[in-house]
């Protein structure tokens, strides 16, 4: 199993969800986050005064998928979240050792 954690633009959440749904990946955790990567924020101006927007609003989507689906899922996310501009986000992939279903206590390999 792999955990895929994607940091994406807020307006891309629906596209990414739809793309994952097409792969029958329905379970996911979506979190509002703030941060920056290379984009590093920028300077905005309001009424002649500059202010820094250093941490930008982003969305984090976490899914756990079988190893066999991982590549397709990553591709789906990257395609759906891409605009080609700085600030499109990142995808992190991590191995998952085991998982348990809380209701039943059942272990999933």
């Amino acid at each position: 199993m792999k955990m895929i954690k994607s940091i994406i633009r807020p307006n891309k959440v629906d596209d990414v969800k739809d793309a994952l749904a097409k792969l029958n990946i329905a379970g996911m955790t979506v979190t509002e986050v703030r941060g920056h990567g290379k984009q590093k924020g920028h300077t905005a101006i309001y009424r002649g005064k500059e202010y820094n927007v250093s941490l930008l609003p982003k969305m984090e989507i976490e899914v756990v998928v079988p190893d066999s689906l991982a590549d397709d899922a990553i591709k789906a996310i990257v395609t759906a979240a891409r605009t080609g501009e700085i600030g499109d986000g990142r995808v992190f992939v991590m191995p998952v050792q085991e998982s348990y279903r809380i209701r039943t206590g059942e272990r999933e390999a």
Partner: protein, 852 residues
């Protein structure tokens, strides 16, 4: 004692022989006095005896009136202590002689026939003579008379006349006035006695704790809360006993001194204690017992009065009092009949940072179903009062909730009633639709008072709204369409249309409210679901929203709406997204609008041409519009645009065409059309300042053929325009001369600026000046934020012109003490170079710092 001056002119001092009526009266009075004297000698000159004596005097007066013949249009009314039936042996008999019609010869004759026999038999009459119509206006300068009228009691003559007097006199306004006067009279009287009841020789009428205080206590209760004394510090029976005691002492004093004397002097203390039968072998013992009874009773009166003064509702408006538990109706019966004052109760509660009392809420709840929406705001003043109530401030949510709970909100806005307890099942909302709606208003209220540094930026936006009540009205109605299950925003607009009609909102306010309701979901959709870093998204949204005021309102509405969904819904993350969309759109609206010019095929132009009035033709309108910023079409309603076209018609160099209109009680609008030339904008601003006008909002627009259209909203604090019939001509004359270079502006302004500088208010902001070449493709944008002051625009624009720059577009706004101006400038047809920008901003900052 009552002032008898009003009746003075009717005195006829000629001595008349006592006739048969006089002799009869003498006998009746003598018998009554003998009876009272006997009572007093037994030490029983208290309430019961005085009431008997008053009744006998009543009978005597009735006899006298009957002897004078038919008396259909006159009433004899007992006032003050006599009205209360507490007439002592030597009390003045205070009377009102009330005539139904005008006082003529016949009425004067009646007065003589009535008063002379009384004087002849030695009665001291304190009389007032009035026509019924006199009571249509309040005798505000005669508080003692007004107080005495509260005890008015019909004695003889036409009862119906007395009833008519009652309905004229007993109004909430009169009661409020009397209460205020009474409290002042008490203060003054007490100060004469060094504000202590423990006088060694007390005046049993005037001293603190004596009879006047006792009457005052009852009056305060009568005027505010008739049940007040039941909750007071003394048992009502003990309060009555104190009265009886004080009256017995007063009766004894009158008997002992044979005159209207009320001071319980040392000498009289001995005689009074004997008369009242105090035990003790030594006079000193008897006196001590009398005085100890006196102080005990005076203390009961004094404490009751203190309690009444502290607890009684303070009048805060017609029929409204502020008591410890909140705002109450002073006269609930009157309140039940007049629903237009109910809104005022909630306004008073917000103003006083308190609640509306349970009794007042029950009164409303009991009667609310009898009234229709229009009954609550029958006239312009009450419609304005309703809107004023909706201004976001501490307490608004709580008061609206009270209004909702007692059924008032749903009656004032039947549209709101449709969503009462309405449940809409979705994944997000946690509350019924009505409560969600009220919580949106609470969210705004919290923002208006927040001290959270992170939220100050949004609080500032709220504070900058010219009409925040329209935002609250929009919030109140934004979800009313949810009573149906389909597209609720459209249904909400349909329903809200009835509300704005009933409130007679002006067109622009009406359009704003309906716009906000129709599009209340739009901004959250864009902020949270669209790529707001895409300039086209922001550009489209700016075009859609049109003006900064609407942008501010929709931003706050969205914020409040999201926050009221559930406590978790508005995260700092969402707030940041919303803020960024606000800033980007604001910048677009204020800095980039010069890039988007009106073209022939422009949306909105067709409508303008289709509705064109007969004196204008399509060609004239398109020629005028072409090349003006697109925003012009959103800023002004059609009627104003037609006016501008007429203003620009056939304009020649050095000519200035202007129109001045009063927008509301304090704001005027000036539109000026002329052809561009150096220093033009600065000159126009300077002329306005030289007449004392304070420019608060405005737009200066230039089209490519050099036509300049400046539209200013300003206040005329010195009322020059209002007070001078030829003001517009004078203004035009000076403007033409200055623009044509025939008159120097500097001397006109010098004196005024000195005065203005001397009168500056305390609020100061460090000025901000920022030049930017990125925002617009055509212009250097100059953002200036500074403390507002008379002549500020003149000073700024003069510096800009001195630097050889052309002012093509200006956006002028004032928010509180802050002036926010955005200039679109060029130099020789191009944007300014970096060094030119530097020189200009340095110069501007210097000027602003010097004069701020």
């Amino acid at each position: 004692m009552l002032d008898a001056a009003a009746g003075g002119e009717y005195h006829d001092m000629s001595v008349t022989e006592p006739g048969p009526v006089g002799s009869k009266l003498t006998a009746v009075l003598a018998a009554a006095r003998a009876e009272l004297t006997a009572d007093v000698r037994r030490g029983a000159g208290g309430r019961a005896a005085l009431e008997r004596y008053s009744d006998r005097v009543d009978a005597m007066l009735r006899q006298l009136v009957a002897a004078g013949g038919p008396s259909e249009d006159v009433a004899i009314v007992a006032l003050g202590g006599y009205g209360r039936r507490h007439l002592c042996l030597h009390s003045d008999i205070d009377l009102l002689v009330l005539f139904g019609g005008r006082i003529g010869a016949a009425e004067e004759q009646f007065l003589r026939a009535f008063l002379h026999p009384l004087w002849d038999i030695g009665v001291v009459v304190g009389h007032q003579v009035r026509e019924l119509d006199d009571f249509r206006t309040l005798e505000a300068d005669n508080p003692e008379f007004l107080l005495a009228l509260l005890d008015a009691r019909p004695v003889a003559g036409a009862r119906v006349l007395f009833d008519r007097f009652n309905s004229l006199f007993h109004t909430p306004e009169t009661h409020a006035h009397i209460l205020t006067s009474l409290l002042q009279l008490i203060e003054e009287r007490h100060s004469r006695f060094n504000a202590t009841l423990y006088q060694l020789e007390p005046d049993v009428k005037e001293s603190p704790g004596a009879l006047r205080d006792l009457a005052a206590t009852r009056t305060i209760a009568l005027l505010t809360d008739p049940l007040l004394l039941r909750r007071g510090p003394a048992d009502p029976a003990r309060f009555d006993d104190a009265e009886d005691f004080l009256l017995r002492v007063r009766s004894a004093l009158h008997l002992e001194t044979d005159r209207n004397l009320n001071v319980l002097s040392h000498e009289l203390q001995e005689r009074t204690s004997d008369l009242l039968g105090y035990p003790g072998t030594e006079p000193r013992q008897r006196v001590e017992r009398l005085m100890s009874d006196y102080f005990r009773n005076a203390r009961i009166v004094s404490r009751s009065l203190e309690w009444a003064r502290k607890t009684a509702p303070a009048p805060v408006g017609p029929n409204l009092g502020l008591s410890r538990d909140g705002i109450r109706f002073l006269d609930p019966i009157q309140a039940a009949r007049d629903p237009s004052m109910w809104i005022a109760a909630f306004q008073a509660a917000i103003d006083g940072n308190t609640e509306v009392t349970e009794e007042a809420l029950s009164c409303i709840q009991q009667h609310v179903d009898r009234y229709r929406a229009d009954d609550f705001f029958p006239d312009e003043a009450s419609r304005k009062a309703l809107l004023r109530l909706l201004r976001p401030r501490a307490g608004l949510y709580a008061r609206l909730s009270e209004m909702h709970d007692c059924g008032l909100l749903g009656r004032v806005f039947p549209e709101f009633q449709a969503i009462s307890w309405r449940v809409v099942r979705d994944f997000y909302h946690k509350y019924t639709v009505d409560e969600h709606t009220l919580l949106t208003i609470r969210s705004l209220e919290q923002l208006s008072t927040t001290t959270d540094p992170y939220r100050q930026r949004l609080r500032n936006v709220l504070n900058e709204l010219a009409e925040p009540e329209l935002l609250v009205l929009s919030l109140l109605l934004h979800d009313v369409g949810k009573w149906r299950d389909d597209d609720h925003a459209i249904e909400s607009v349909r329903m809200a249309r009835d509300v704005v009609d009933r409130l007679h909102l002006p067109d622009d306010a009406r359009d704003t409210v309906l716009f906000l309701i129709r599009h209340h979901l739009r901004m959250s959709l864009i902020a949270f679901r669209r790529d707001t870093e895409d300039p086209d998204i922001v550009k489209d949204f700016a075009a859609f929203i049109g003006t900064e005021q609407r942008l501010k309102m929709l931003t706050l509405l969205t914020l409040a709406d999201v926050q009221a969904v559930s406590p978790e819904t508005l995260t700092p993350w969402k707030e940041e997204l919303l803020w960024r969309l606000y800033v980007d759109t604001y910048n677009h609206l204020t800095q980039r609008y010069g890039d988007e010019r009106i073209e022939r095929s422009q949306a909105g132009v067709d409508d303008l041409l289709a509705q064109c009035p007969p004196d204008l033709d399509a060609q004239e309108i398109t020629r005028f519009l072409e090349g003006l910023p697109q925003r012009y079409l959103q800023l002004f309603p059609h009627e104003a645009i037609y006016r501008h076209v007429r203003l620009a018609r056939g304009i020649q160099p050095d000519e200035v065409h202007l129109s001045i209109e009063r927008q509301d009680s304090s704001v005027w609008t000036l539109a000026v059309a002329t052809l561009d030339k150096p220093y033009l904008f600065s000159n126009i601003c300077g002329v306005l300042s030289s007449f004392g006008m304070n420019i608060i909002r405005g737009h200066a627009l230039t089209n490519p053929s050099g036509l300049v259209l400046d539209v200013f909203q300003f206040t005329d604090d010195e009322r020059f325009l209002e007070l001078n019939g030829d003001a517009q001509q004078r203004l035009l004359h000076v403007l033409e001369n200055v623009v044509a270079g025939r008159e120097e502006l500097a001397p006109r302004l010098r004196g005024r600026e000195r005065g203005a500088l001397a009168m500056r208010s305390g609020m100061r902001f460090p000025p901000v000046v920022r030049a930017d070449n990125e925002a617009s493709s055509r212009y250097t944008i100059l953002d200036i934020v500074a403390t507002n002051a008379l002549g500020l625009l003149y000073r700024i624009s003069r510096v800009i012109s001195r630097h050889g720059c052309d002012v093509d577009l200006v956006l002028i706004a004032t928010e509180g003490e802050k002036a926010i101006d955005v200039f679109h400038i060029t130099k020789g047809g191009s944007k300014l170079t970096e060094s030119e920008q530097q020189e200009l901003t340095t110069d501007l900052l210097r000027i602003l710092e010097e004069t701020q």
